[in-house]
């Protein structure tokens, strides 16, 4: 048992659901107790979805505990198949079904006999994998399933596309700025003259998956999601993959050069050097920012970085290599892939921190007192407590991290966005500091606290106590309204009863 207050990566089934609901017309059925379908709330709230989240539950209740699920799961699959005609139904195990050890495979096989769509069991064990690992595995599983299916039916396409083309693998629902990154990557590919063969899983149909072998190469922008799929495709079809995250000016250039190398090896004969030069010097503002006196003022300032592998590594490199900022430590919560992270950032920071314990991270921040933090929502709150500004760069995230405006982290527009995020975080902290030195903007109290001296009204102890329970930002108004109410009616004293009577009468 482990005492835990907060976790960075969610449970395995969340990863599976993120993949399933990213595809079009795929439905997930969770084998879970009532209340475990919280994913629907998150998707509907955080990404402000207009459509119903295609996830339902085959409820595990007392009867299931006593007698097993019996026909229930099969019935639920067949019912959903008839109601919504999905292309694929993914039966999703949870922590509960992991220990019940029912033969979910058998349910899948039985329901496949009747269902018109495909049915599959997500092969993820709750106790072995977290959200990110499960998402990676599920995506791979679905791709394999449809490649194999096409192969059996002889429907696998022959050869590659005429022009250079790419599969972009790994943008999902509820992923950090994934939809904006996706748009930016599509734009980048268009600029490079590369066709998009498929884009999975977000917005894709499972029927398109058999087209995947036609691409010249695969691009895996996120370290956590899609590598397994890319490796499978390499092994099956010899398709090379590029797994350099195009985040930051230097890494974007590196990614483009790698793409150039990969497609030239297949006879494309492209040269992207001019494009990289033009974008770096004149389109992206990040390189110019590094030269400007704004950035000069940041030289040697201390920062710490924490997040998932992709974002923490990329931001660390940007801070150290492109802006001359002193990264005291950089960390990740992707413990299962810690070696990769160490290798990526070791030369760019003093220390590497691998941990899933937010307490340890908080202490490490307090210890080094950086001028700015780049982390998750949890680090933002640590920053609040310690009065240190924080830029959010990775999940776990809140609704404010699903902006409607265009805010990619990848590609050349991404470099602009990241520059703003970093510069604003540092200057915010500096402004606060200056304000404090000069004694603040306004030293007058806005709302009088306690009983004002000229008031002819006396607040009793219980009245005052009730008043204190009212949230601070409306307390002044409630107090004024109540006193007016009491004065109008000639009360000498204000107790709790008068306070609430005032509330009833004027809605104070």
């Amino acid at each position: 048992m482990k005492l835990a207050y907060w976790m960075y990566a969610g449970p395995a089934h969340i990863g599976t659901l993120r993949i399933a609901t990213s595809f079009k017309n795929v439905h997930a059925i969770m084998h879970a107790p009532i209340g475990d379908d919280y994913f629907n709330v998150m998707r509907s709230m955080l990404s402000r979805e207009r459509d119903f989240t295609p996830v339902t539950t085959s409820v595990v209740d007392r009867n299931v505990l006593a007698r097993g699920s019996q026909e229930k799961v099969v019935d639920n699959i067949i019912r959903k198949d008839a109601e919504e005609h999905p292309d694929l139904i993914v039966l999703t195990p949870t922590c509960t079904s992991s220990i019940l050890q029912e033969d979910l495979h058998n349910f899948v096989e039985r329901s496949q006999l009747e269902a018109k769509g495909d049915v599959m069991l997500a092969d993820v064990n709750h106790y072995r994998y977290n959200e990110l690992q499960a998402a990676d595995r599920t995506l791979d599983q679905i791709v394999q399933y449809y490649i194999e299916k096409a192969r059996r039916r002889g429907e696998l396409p022959e050869g590659k596309t005429e022009k250079p083309s790419v599969n972009i693998i790994g943008t999902t629902t509820l992923g950090f700025h994934n939809n904006h990154d996706c748009t930016e990557l599509k734009r980048l590919m268009a600029d490079l003259g590369i066709e998009i063969n498929t884009l999975i899983p977000e917005g894709a149909s499972v029927n398109d998956l058999k087209k995947m072998p036609k691409a010249w190469f695969n691009l895996v922008p996120y370290r956590e999601l899609g590598l397994t799929t890319a490796r499978y495709l390499e092994e099956q079809f010899g398709t090379p993959y590029v797994d350099i995250t195009p985040m930051g000016v230097v890494e974007t250039a590196r990614c483009i050069r790698k793409i150039q190398q990969v497609i030239n090896a297949q006879g494309a004969e492209v040269d992207y050097e001019n494009f990289i030069n033009e974008q770096t010097l004149y389109v992206s503002q990040a390189a110019w920012f590094s030269r400007s006196i704004d950035c000069q003022n940041l030289t040697g300032k201390k920062a710490v970085v924490f997040g998932d592998n992709t974002h923490a590594a990329a931001i660390t490199k940007i801070l150290a290599r492109e802006m001359g900022i002193h990264v005291v430590w950089a960390g990740t919560y992707c413990k299962y892939d810690a070696d990769w992270f160490r290798e990526q950032v070791s030369e760019y920071c003093d220390e590497v921190l691998i941990s899933e314990d937010h307490g340890e991270i908080g202490d490490a921040i307090a210890r080094v007192e950086p001028s700015a933090i780049f982390g998750t929502q949890m680090e933002r709150h640590v920053g609040k407590r310690l009065d240190i500004p924080c830029g959010v760069i990775a999940a776990p995230i809140h609704v404010q991290n699903f902006p409607i405006g265009y805010k990619p982290f990848m590609g050349y527009e991404g470099t602009n966005q990241i520059t703003d995020l970093i510069y604003n975080s540092f200057t915010l902290g500096m402004e606060d500091h200056l304000l404090e030195i000069f004694g603040g903007h306004d030293t007058k109290e806005v709302i009088t606290r306690g009983i004002s001296a000229d008031s002819d009204l006396n607040w009793t102890k219980d009245g005052q106590a009730e008043l204190n329970k009212i949230p601070g930002f409306v307390r002044g108004k409630v107090k004024r309204n109540t006193e007016k109410f009491a004065r109008d009616r000639g009360f000498k004293e204000i107790n709790a009863e008068v306070l609430y009577a005032a509330k009833e009468s004027v809605g104070a």
């Binding site: 048992m1 482990k2 005492l3 835990a4 207050y5 907060w6 976790m7 969610g10 449970p11 089934h13 969340i14 879970a32 107790p33 009532i34 209340g35 475990d36 379908d37 919280y38 629907n40 709330v41 509907s44 709230m45 402000r48 979805e49 207009r50 459509d51 119903f52 989240t53 295609p54 339902t56 539950t57 409820v59 595990v60 209740d61 007392r62 505990l65 109601e83 919504e84 949870t94 922590c95 509960t96 220990i99 019940l100 709750h126 106790y127 977290n130 709150h381 609040k384 809140h398 102890k461 219980d462 009730e466 329970k469 009212i470 709790a496 609430y500 509330k503 009833e504 009468s505 809605g507």
Partner: protein, 467 residues
């Protein structure tokens, strides 16, 4: 019952139970804030932790007095010893937080692997010297607010059964209070006692925000009824005395286990009343309590009328409109009854679980309200099926759907007004004073529509809804 009355009766149905609601462990979120010296330990998996972390939103960052005892593979396969593991964690909690009580929340996983929490707790309690209360608030058996019910039922067994002899101690405390108040308090106390009618002690149960506790207590005080205690109190160490023969009354519709425990285990007498939600409910609640104590209520007519008059601007927005409750928190019947009194028509009351005995008075008031308002009796659908409900919503086109967040945005995108049901569990909706707050929530989507009505942006999905 005559044959003619048959169709007039409420219609109860039961569907598949395939609906969306919060897991009952969410009760931790409001109970740890209510019971200030408690610590809630949820013994479960990452799934439970992930739910709490996301459902509690910003509260999670405020060093909450709750934590997960996250079960690992070794716990499931019994390679680790439950008792030793729990002892290690509870000692750590004692050292870091020093609470007056640790509440263990049993989850689906502890049910399935049959961890004997009730057996382990007394042993560990005597070893570490902190009371341990066990509540099995899991998704296998319960929905959302029923979590509070399991916790309060367990707490009911911890209430002292005799008032502490400390009459002298009490005086002493008063002495200090007197000193602090320069004797002013003394008059209050003497005056206080004479304001009350002599009646058998009354204890109320249900967790409410402190301001609402004060309001309801004062409301009863106006009738000369003294509230001897409240389950739960602000602190675990202040749990009310429950002697055999005391009267108890519930303030929320989801507290049936607590009510049962108070009656059977503590030998208290339950006052079965409608719940004090809406001015009509509050009035009926007070009247019922008065009638049990043989008191003729004073001034309730004027008070109710006055509250209704103050609500008129909101009521006129919803009068004649229809509402559909998808059902997820068990407050539905009381809310529907209040809204019918406001002049709304209710198509359907979805509800996770319906205790017809505990809610008897509320159901009777619902029927009576429908008759008086000349409104058709709604169907009450227990364990609803959300998919079927959506089909009915498309067919009925209600003016307002009260539903969970999973359905709210998709329904709005299809031009159907929604109110997120969870807000009702966290907002203050009890008593005369807060009737306005409840209507503020109910009318919000309609007021929003008045602001946006000329824009022609009702339906914002391309093809007709698939689900």
């Amino acid at each position: 019952m005559t044959v003619a009355q048959q169709p007039e009766a409420l219609n109860f149905e039961c569907e598949t139970g395939n609906y969306h609601t919060f897991c009952p462990i969410s009760c931790v979120a409001w109970l740890y804030q209510k019971i200030e010296d408690s610590f809630f330990l949820v013994i479960g998996t990452k799934t439970c932790g992930y739910f709490l972390q996301n459902a509690m939103g910003v509260m999670i960052f405020a060093e909450p007095r709750y934590a997960m005892a996250e079960l690992e593979e070794g716990d499931i396969s019994a390679q680790l010893n439950d008792y030793e593991e729990l002892k290690r964690l509870c000692l750590q909690i004692k050292r870091d937080r020093n609470p007056s009580v640790i509440v263990w929340i049993g989850t689906c996983t502890t049910e399935i692997i049959k961890t004997d929490l009730e057996g382990l707790a007394p042993k560990l309690e005597s070893e570490i010297g902190i009371p341990i209360v066990v509540a099995r608030a899991n998704g296998l058996d319960y929905a959302f607010t029923q979590g509070e019910d399991t916790v309060l039922a367990a707490m009911a067994n911890r209430c002292p059964d005799k008032a502490p002899v400390a009459e002298t101690e009490k005086n002493e405390r008063n002495a200090i209070a007197k000193l602090l108040n320069f004797g002013k308090k003394k008059e209050d106390v003497a005056q206080d006692e004479s304001e009350y009618v002599n009646h058998t002690p009354l204890v109320l149960f249900g967790s409410l925000p402190d301001p609402v506790v004060t309001q309801l207590t004062l409301e009863l005080k106006k009738q000369g009824i003294k509230v001897s205690g409240w389950l739960p109190a602000k602190r675990f160490t202040e749990l009310p005395v429950l002697e055999e023969g005391y009267y108890v009354a519930g303030v929320n519709p989801f507290l049936s286990r607590t009510a049962t425990t108070l009656m059977r285990r503590r030998k208290c007498k339950l006052i079965g009343a409608p719940f004090p939600i809406g001015p009509d409910g509050t009035r009926a609640w007070i009247e019922k309590i008065c009638s049990v104590f043989g008191i003729t209520p004073k001034g309730l007519d004027e008070r109710e009328a006055q509250i209704w008059a103050g609500l008129e601007d909101y009521v006129k927005l919803i009068r004649g409109k229809s509402v559909f409750f998808m059902g997820d928190n068990l407050l539905e019947v009381s809310q529907a009854r209040f809204l019918i009194r406001c002049g709304m028509t209710v198509h359907e009351i979805g509800i996770p679980y319906m205790d017809k005995r505990y809610q008897a008075a509320e159901l009777a008031l619902l029927e009576k309200t429908c008759q008086e308002m000349n409104s058709p009796l709604p169907r009450i659908v227990e364990k609803p099926d959300n998919y079927n409900q959506l089909q009915r919503i498309y067919a009925l086109k209600p003016d307002l759907v009260i539903t969970g967040m999973a359905h709210a945005n998709p329904l709005e995108a299809r031009g159907i007004n929604t109110k997120w049901s969870v807000e009702f569990t966290f907002a203050q909706i009890h008593g005369f004073t807060n009737a306005r707050d409840m209507l503020e929530l109910v009318t919000r989507p309609l007021r929003r529509n008045n602001n946006l009505k000329d824009l022609g942006w009702d339906k914002l999905v391309r093809e007709e809804a698939k689900i």
